[in-house]
Symmetry: C2
Subunit: 374 residues, 2 copies
């Protein structure tokens, strides 16, 4: 993997870069659609590719449980098994198994997590080495370290333990021999405590990994708390390496994150909210297609001037009708719009960075001011 | 509308024709995907078009209840409301309201049907004139007469009444002034009684409509009963007009129907069975993706040599995984294969007819012999 920064915005610190992987070039900043179980929910790969996605995210926990990494390895890895030719990133499964812990279904010790899966109730044990072994079999281009991800409301002491474990586990992950083309990213923990975030960051930077992520975000904090962490931490991550903000991805999050110097994002929201009839509206906020005035709105697309295939073709009235009559095609049309919104926003911001126009861009975007709030 | 027969197979009576409508040319024989509520379930229009569909079927009853024909008319009709640029056919709603009657939720008299809808329980009344008025507003290229469709197990006397009503209502439908570009097809009833089928056919042919359909099929009879009706009736329908077999569409049905001289088919099966993990297999019969041996079948597509986008890309193992993990993208991939199977089969048979190769085609197709059973 090779990462090159093409330009850094002198006002905000936002970066435009090129990430070269064995499965194609990724122009950053980039939003990564989530393909938890090897498919972006409801979106054929052709559409995902047409939307301009160059990397998607698979989930180690889910793929380990089903179909199992052995069969994916036999198929030649995630790319060939799922037939997504471009880049893949796999998260480590940490986030999922720690959410079991929060529900009392898992036990954590210094070597890893023992838990019962949510399908058959079988007992599993995953630690840093197990996670690396699974991810090696899955064969993603970017592999995430197995970290300790505590809940947002954990105490200082508990988060301190998580930071220490994350550090020790990161070393074990780095010691594991992945496939030659795979790159390992480490995940900074520390929750809402700046002191612990700084400690985690210093520890992990000392290990000199190929990329860094901010983790333990969006596990229950307020938007403002997340913004604070992102704004205070992103620029401290190594300058010459990709910076990834995990599990975050709405238009506002991209504005704040990219302006803070983040290069990569992922989030299930664009496809998930479509199943509730929601879409990213004019201002970037989620709106409901069921809004009363949409019933007779035969002229307006979801968002005026949006260039996605949904907005170029359909009226709000038609889409509301499909949603209310449970016509599942509407999930496709709304997801397409939502994914386009994020992929297009990241492209627009990339152009603005390259052309020294970030100030203009932020001034003109309804949510641009969020980038400047300290 | 203009219908031209290009060639008739001298052995089977199968026909290749061209149906010209205000929304494009339809090469027959043709399978029509069903877009009940203005969308083919789970299939974006782009895909429906890529598959080569040139006409789809909307449902008068469902569209009347929601969103109502007024709003569709205001949008400029079905084509512009749903943004399907090619041809539309609307069924009359008869089939739906008579299925209410079977459940005791409707009262039938000589002028029409009074029923409560299945959404809000409001009372509606639809007869031939009402159905025509709705279909005029919907604006499909082909409009179906409002017929009396009795259940498969109805008595001779009951079906005789239905035949008589269908005749009287057909006259009322013909009297109604539709839009200039719209064509009305009449629907032959008569159930399993050859005498009544013949009577209905004679009555309706005397009215000289633009096209004819066989109705009251697939309402509970066996495949063999359906085949018998199709084989005995299709060739008696006017030679120079489109012949449409309603609600029927599996590979076997297309083989039997096209060989009997039918030009048009529609059926919800290709999209419906995909939601149960089923697809048209090698022989044309529906098979389940959940079959045990598929778990490890990383090499085979659904059907060897199938040229659909699903078979060109994915293994059975991957598709089974998606289905078992409730990944909704699989409904798209299976529906695409199923629709392709029918659209491609009708194209292949059309070529065989045009090239005088129907005998070869039927000899080589695993279900071809069904065309020759008397």
């Amino acid at each position: 993997m090779k990462f090159t920064i093409e330009k850094t915005c002198s006002i905000t610190g936002a970066r435009a870069g090129i990430l070269e992987t064995a499965h194609g070039i990724i122009e950053t900043p980039i939003f990564m659609p989530v393909a938890t179980k090897g498919s972006v929910r409801g979106m054929p790969w052709d559409t995902v590719e047409d939307l301009g996605a160059s990397i998607v995210l698979g989930n180690t926990y889910h793929l380990h449980i089903r179909p199992g990494e052995q069969i994916i390895e036999r198929a030649g890895g995630l790319h060939n098994w799922s037939k997504w030719p471009k880049a893949y990133l796999t998260d480590s499964g940490g986030f999922q198994v720690f959410s079991f812990a929060r529900r009392g279904q898992a036990k954590i010790d210094n070597q890893g997590v023992t838990f019962k899966d949510d399908l058959e109730g079988k007992t599993h044990r995953i630690g840093p080495t197990e996670s690396m072994a699974i991810q090696k079999s899955l064969g993603a281009d970017i592999v995430m370290a197995f970290d300790h991800c505590p809940p947002a409301n954990a105490t200082f002491e508990d988060i301190d333990i998580a930071v220490q474990r994350t550090y020790e586990w990161a070393q074990k992950c780095l010691d594991f021999k992945l496939q030659d083309y795979q790159s390992l990213f480490l995940i900074v923990q520390g929750g809402r405590f700046e002191e612990l975030r700084q400690k985690s960051l210093d520890q992990l930077i000392s290990l000199n990994a190929e990329g860094y992520a901010l983790g333990g975000i969006s596990v229950g904090e307020s938007r403002e708390e997340v913004d604070k962490v992102v704004k205070s931490m992103a620029h401290k991550l190594p300058d010459n390496k990709p910076r990834y903000l995990m599990g975050v991805g709405t238009p506002r999050d991209l504005i704040v994150g990219i302006s803070s110097g983040i290069d990569m994002f992922d989030c299930v929201l664009p496809t998930r909210i479509s199943r509730h009839g929601s879409y990213f509206g004019e201002s970037g906020k989620a709106e409901s297609i069921t809004k009363k005035s949409n019933t007779e709105d035969l002229d307006s697309p979801l968002v005026k001037n949006c260039t996605c295939a949904t907005c170029l073709r359909f009226s709000k009235a038609y889409l509301k009708h499909l949603f209310q009559r449970s016509e599942i095609t509407v999930y496709y049309y709304l997801s397409l719009h939502n994914l386009h919104t994020l992929l297009n926003l990241s492209r627009q911001m990339r152009s603005a960075i390259l052309e020294n126009k970030m100030q203009d861009f932020l001034n003109n975007h309804p949510m641009g001011h969020l980038a400047f709030i300290k």
